[in-house]
Amino acid sequence: MYLTSDPLELATLVGQVQSASRGAIACFLGTVRDHNGGRAVLQLDYSAYEPMAEAECARIQVEAERRWECAVALQHRTGTVRVGEAAVVVAAASAHRDEAFAACRFVIEEIKRRVPIWKREVFVDGTMEWVEGGSPGQMGSGLEGQQNSGTAGKLDGESSDLITGKSDATRA
């Protein structure tokens, strides 16, 4: 399952992709930031069109593993995610770091672009707002992309990013 309401464990995903022949593992965690647009954020509430989100995550994994010689694992939270917790985790392992970083970057960008997941910001003052209006998404191929809606749209409404790279000293 690519979607889960349980806390995400980076070590679990790393364990799924590491092997003796892969000397580089690039990881990405998107964590919930305590502020957005100058307002104090309490938590994010994620909802998803789950069967389609699962299918889209599977396609992204396959695409990354075909494009680079790598193994990829990804998971996204649903439900309430509190400040500091990870909302999304990606791990990409390859023989060398260039492929691992490239695959990891590809996967997080495609998740944001294609996977039907939505988040609502819950602010410390008790108000809530759906986050909309990121870059237009286009799933699959050759089909029309979405249009940005003006309702409660915010361009900077994203979880904060934390990139970590881990390389095997003997290979990378």
Binding site: M52, K112, E132, Q146
Partner: protein, 89 residues
């Protein structure tokens, strides 16, 4: 015996998410449409239930889990999802 005449209507299940579910006050609607019907006909019906300008001209839609265009034809029993701008990650 003659085959029965083709039915002139079809029923689809419409799924709404996030801000669109809030806008319409529900997350699923059964719609009976006159055949032939398209994704656009579903959108027209939704617009009649709310402020027409609240839905974009061409929101992202999916039929049976695959992204669909406004003029795609619908079949009996299809699941039509209307997707607000994505904000995963």
């Amino acid at each position: 015996m003659l085959p029965s005449a083709p039915t002139s209507t079809l029923t689809v299940r419409v799924l709404l998410f996030a801000s669109y579910a809030e806008l319409l006050g529900r997350d699923a609607i059964e719609l009976e449409l006159e055949a032939p019907a398209t994704v656009g006909d579903v959108l027209d019906h939704l617009r009649s239930l709310t402020r027409a300008e609240a839905l974009p001209t061409r929101p992202m839609c999916a039929v049976n889990l695959v992204q669909a265009a406004t003029d795609d034809l619908l079949a009996q029993g299809d699941e039509v999802a209307i997707l607000p701008p994505l904000s995963g990650g």
